[in-house]
Symmetry: C2
Subunit: 460 residues, 2 copies
């Protein structure tokens, strides 16, 4: 079937391609207001001309059709742009996407610059690296974050970020697994599950996909799910310190989680991307918990520690002890996924990651984290002073602010419209996030202070 439509994007040279082709003339029906059977006329300047609208016979992937609206953060970016068109003079401040704002410490960027320059030398040039990451970086990650936990260099897979590894893990698991997820949670867990065909359709009445177990995390249960009500699933995505609620699970809670996984034979995918924000004695890694190595994978990232959101560097830990029901090591299949669908993180980013884990790099990262934690205090204090119930913040760069009885998107729009501040609507993270907004503490100090001032004007 061929339809006709206007196009203004053809120059004379591309037009020439259509010269003696029959593509343009096989027209069966037309769109409204468009002439039919108009031949291509090649002239010197781009011009509105007729072009076939042809449909392939390839069916759209039905899993893609299940996805609701846009992915959350691009949708927020879109609304922000609309707002900025409406108020071109407004100074919009983002406390939304969780994007880092502070410069990367020089010790780290210098290492990346040096690696860049070295790539212009015979001695310093390197081509394809190991898909799993450079050996010294894997070793440094194992030593720094898992030094006494029995995790080895070869258990570490360096990646271009936790979000990317979430999808690679979903490819690994395939379409026949069922997953559980904290509700609310970072949207990539659920969306990647939908894309891989693990789920049923979206059920509008409950705002959940079929065949996903949503583990409700609310103030009532201290943001840790009541495992006695959670159905057995193959995979359990669990993020601590949690994005978006900002809550970190305690050791005792994680012991229960690991036992729950062991009892059910499940695999936990533990997202520890905010572990360095923990102030108290909550575990930094799931592998601090006895027996976790046989039931857990951990994903993490340099993004929120060193401002690497744009540089792209993370890692995934898959202990050799973790095996499928047939005894096949999960790490072996993940290695195959990484070798086939990925080609390693950028060597320049890896040089930066290695420097992050040097003594001076670690010190610099702690300073970055400390700065954002001060921001978090400002945000938390602001909302508390206004009488809101605020959760999180202590062990994470996110405050989870309660607006009981209100729609998250309405609150999002209110704050954007009246204070020119971008937040994140809690319902974007799952149905249990309704009535909350997530306020990120990433931002320059003056912006956070200005945001605090505007919020006080709005809600005082």
């Amino acid at each position: 079937m061929a339809l006709l439509q206007l196009s203004a994007h053809f120059s004379s040279s591309s037009c020439a391609f259509f010269g003696d082709d029959d593509v343009l003339s096989s027209t069966s029906k037309t769109l409204p207001l468009l002439r039919r059977n108009v031949k291509c006329r090649c002239i010197a300047e781009p011009v509105e001309m007729m072009q076939t609208v042809y449909k392939t016979k390839v069916s759209r992937n039905e899993n893609m059709a299940k996805l609701q609206a846009g992915y959350l953060f691009p949708e927020i970016a879109r609304r922000r742009e609309v707002h900025m068109l409406k108020y071109p003079e407004a100074k919009v401040i983002s406390l939304g996407i969780g994007d880092t704002t502070e410069p990367i410490p020089e010790v780290i960027t210098s290492a990346m610059a040096e690696r860049s320059y070295a790539l212009s030398t015979v001695a310093g040039y390197s081509g394809y690296g190991a898909e799993q990451g450079e050996k010294n970086l894997r070793a440094a990650i194992a030593e720094t974050y898992y030094g006494n936990l029995g995790i080895q260099e070869t258990d570490i897979f360096v990646s271009d970020g936790a979000k990317c590894d979430i999808s690679r893990l979903q490819i690994l698991f395939g379409s026949n697994v069922m997953m559980a997820v904290q509700d609310p949670s970072y949207p990539a867990y659920v969306d990647s599950s939908v894309i891989m065909g693990q789920t049923g359709p979206f059920q509008k009445d409950v705002e959940k996909y079929g065949k996903i177990e949503y583990m409700k995390c609310t103030p009532e249960n201290g943001f840790f799910p009541d495992l006695s009500t959670v159905s057995k699933t193959d995979i359990i995505f669990f993020c601590s310190p949690n994005n978006p609620t900002g809550s970190a699970a305690t050791r005792e809670q994680l012991v229960r989680l690991v036992q729950f996984a062991r009892d059910n034979g499940s695999i936990i995918v533990y997202d520890s991307a905010y572990a360095m924000y923990i102030s108290d004695d909550c575990p930094r890694s799931i592998f601090e918990i006895p027996g976790a190595k046989e039931v857990a994978i951990e994903i993490s990232s340099f993004s929120k520690y060193a401002g690497f959101t744009g540089v792209r560097l993370g890692w995934t830990v898959i202990p050799k002890q973790l095996v499928f029901s047939d005894g096949f090591p999960v790490a072996k299949d993940f290695n195959r996924i990484v070798c086939t669908t990925f080609n390693g993180a950028s060597n320049i980013a890896q040089a930066g990651g290695l420097e992050c884990l040097s003594p001076q790099g670690l010190k610099a990262m702690h300073e970055v984290v400390g700065f954002y934690k001060e921001n978090t205090d400002i945000v938390v204090d602001t909302f508390k002073s206004l009488g809101f119930k605020v959760y999180g913040g202590r062990n994470a760069p996110y405050a989870w602010v309660h607006f009981p009885g209100r729609s998250s998107w309405d609150v999002f729009e209110e704050i954007l419209e009246k204070a020119h501040l971008v937040t994140t609507p809690g319902s974007g993270f799952g149905p249990a996030g309704e009535g909350f907004i997530r306020v990120s503490a990433f931002g320059h100090r003056e912006n956070v202070l200005e945001a605090s001032k505007r919020l006080k004007e709005l809600y005082m």
Copy 2:
């Protein structure tokens, strides 16, 4: 079921985790030679101790189990390592994996170093970039490679490399499509299809996966498939200049391919990662062919133009005119895939890519390509002088050398064993590659000359 096995990887601190846990004692059977029911003893030094071998109840993804052996290139790397252990004194030269060897031109690395340093400044810092790539880079790619072909900036998706985008495209298509592929071809097309569950099991007798259409490319058909014998499929992966055969399709051949796709309603995924190696008038892009924008996606990469194999930067072009059978734009779904499973290429790599497309960067890339093309001439002349039939080479950095009647892996082993040269066995690219080896022309000049000398000694 819990088994016991020796482990020497637990320090005292991790051992402590097992203190009052019942994990270790629930032993139902033991492995040979291992004592059972030995309790964990915590002492100061790492020690061999008993550790539960626990199996999850998660079934291994059956698609992963279909995959044969290792991915080709890691397997070659493994054999190379075995060889180097056997001959520690040998100077092994790789003409194997197709990895670039020459330093990246300074104009390009300087741009990356500057971007690195800038990330330490308030003005130059950037966090998350657009998942689709930076606007100026997308515009530069559209202008440089598709200037007069009607491809727009918004049709370009910047990525961390063509291999990664191949898998993202497979996720986009899902498990219910059937694909055709050149035989032989770059293994990532087939392997990613297997992983996504598009195929049947591997059929050992014909060395093909079920439900993949293998389009035979041999000297007899000039390495372009006889489309009259090719079954209709949803997707057609097509690489030109081809890896591994080194052949580039002519304009007339690509017109036939596009017409074939249009007749069948198929989508072509056109891999043009070697387009800059074309010396004659073969098309550099599928979009030079009339009607291609409605049936084709193009993937490409900076890897082989600027030595970016380790830096990681590529792109995919999905014209807005390409739609599924229900009229839904393919690019819209791909955008969702990119936003959900990826977070953009490294901003430092993107700064390099932008510089690649400046006048001086383009000049530098042409010099890099020219150097490798001289290498290719040396390789081709060497094998020709020895009486071999050599294909490819003219428009690609690969020579495809025929050893009629012999096993590719045997030839690979012979050349490795006797000349300490790593090549790539043709059968690793598909059954029609049997009897061939791919010889890559990436390498320092002295190594290519030395390889030529050794080959002459071996086969003279």
